[in-house]
Symmetry: C2
Subunit: 330 residues, 2 copies
Amino acid sequence: MTDIARMAEVDISTVSRALANSPRVTEETKERIRRIVEETGYVVNHGARMLRSRSSNQILVLLGNIAATTFPEVVLGIEEAVQEHGYSVLVGSTHNDPERQEILANQLLTGAADGIILMTGLLPEVVRNFPNYEQHVVAVTRMVPDKRIPQVNIDNRAAMETAVAHLLALGHSRIVHLSGPLDSPTFQARAEGYRRAMRSAGAHPAVIPSQAFNIQAGIEAMERLLALPDRPTAIICASDEMAMGAISLATGKGIRVPDDMSFVGFDDIPFSVVMNPPLSTIHIPRRDMGRAGGRILLRNLTEGAGKAENVVLRHELIVRGSCGRLSRSR
Amino acid sequence: MTDIARMAEVDISTVSRALANSPRVTEETKERIRRIVEETGYVVNHGARMLRSRSSNQILVLLGNIAATTFPEVVLGIEEAVQEHGYSVLVGSTHNDPERQEILANQLLTGAADGIILMTGLLPEVVRNFPNYEQHVVAVTRMVPDKRIPQVNIDNRAAMETAVAHLLALGHSRIVHLSGPLDSPTFQARAEGYRRAMRSAGAHPAVIPSQAFNIQAGIEAMERLLALPDRPTAIICASDEMAMGAISLATGKGIRVPDDMSFVGFDDIPFSVVMNPPLSTIHIPRRDMGRAGGRILLRNLTEGAGKAENVVLRHELIVRGSCGRLSRSR
DNA sequence: TTGAAAGCGCTACCAC
DNA sequence: GTGGTAGCGCTTTCAA
């Protein structure tokens, strides 16, 4: 920057102001400086700027597993909200390991990130010790048990009730739920919504939990289910990936979908459309959730945190081909 | 850090050395300092460290679209290779927009990242002007037309030849290729491998290109194909996502897979196992590619770039259920 | 083995 | 509107 200043025959402070587009520099001077910057290919040093201005213009997104198909589109939404304000997005995969999450979250403390968007459902210990942490953290997609942190989510309970209602309307009553990890409030909420809806319909709830919510988990849960007596006529899965695993196993065992068994997924990932049969599922507005989360974080970062905002977006049942009407003859 | 120094009753420089685990500090002193750091929850300031040491310990991964299912697992591999050496990984989605890529790549110039792993097949202009850029860049998954940059990839041409050979062996000869964007060397190579294999078998190659390689692209390409006279008996897709789109469209039109038409995918994403029928495809070692790329970048960062290394990993044909034997009666 | 001190490149405050 | 300048928090060289 000193070089630029010399070349432009102004003081270094003027260059700094010009580059920050301060109104206290003539348009003329700015133009001259901009030209020189252009010519020399100069870029400001991120470290120095961070050191001085105590901000990195980086947002850290923490998620359990970057390979879970449901997350990337949320990230896309966050990027959209955040980029035009000069922030860039950094994604960290915690592999559901609290320790890894702590390490990654340290980026906030060291100043490498100005804010964190949590999609893990876990508030890192180190963050809780950060002054005004509620100003720097937003939970998206996965709730965090902390009233001070703004949250963006859908109503998982209600979504499951929607799913159960759909199956009920088709004449099913022996419906089981293939759940995700029940230490996660998200999957707890889904299981609870399922139970509540079943009970109020006078049906008997049955939940088969898993440690994960990917394809493999769906396969294994389905294996366990099929080993049981008294096969259900319909299944609600905690994620589309699980549903796909479960359906593939069932199909492999000669079970016809939806004739013999109906399936509902959760997430509406792009692949659910091209399944055979196409998967009926609960759509969640991932992109919008990301955008909302990004917006809130940005606002809190610049204006300070007010009362923690709690955004609940709408889910939607997408009826495709994986659910059949139950004939009374059964 | 000054506080820590005061509390430990040593000089700030000693604290710095202790934290860097320099051998020039007594184990005793180190221990005392470590304890105080622990108690106070102190973390070094990332900006200041960057400013002084001119390194950020961050690796930037640039990819076209974070939502393309094939990429995340490569990122996982990179993380594996890089994390234990104290680097963290930053993912940037360019949306295949060269301009966005330039903006993201600036992170290298500003010092926010020490190195870049390119999965876009495009070398950013700004990087080319960076001194010793070949030391800071590795191309993974997508080749870059620059001999100075190390590359990690599979042999896309050979992989397609494998795919064609498989179909040939099943009796097919009217095989068309649903290609991805042909401005990408990767998809060019795949198309070329296909053409070469077809020609040397005395068969007539036919390529239908697309602007993308996602599900939608597969659907649209298949639509175009089916509008043509003279339907092929087998189709090789440039990606699994395309194959899934194409199969779903074909199935919707009453074409039976694999009885009426065979399909081969490319990538072996997790979903290909649970398709109905399960997708025969070319497996590419994404995790390994990521790891290799991360390792090379790290080495170049620390030891300087030697001759650009060119790693070619092995692909593998995975035979599942989407290809049928062509009966001679046809 | 430890201390002192010089900056890294920038921003922001204060003067003019 | 512009210039001068202190200092952000750290690393590293030099001296002791």
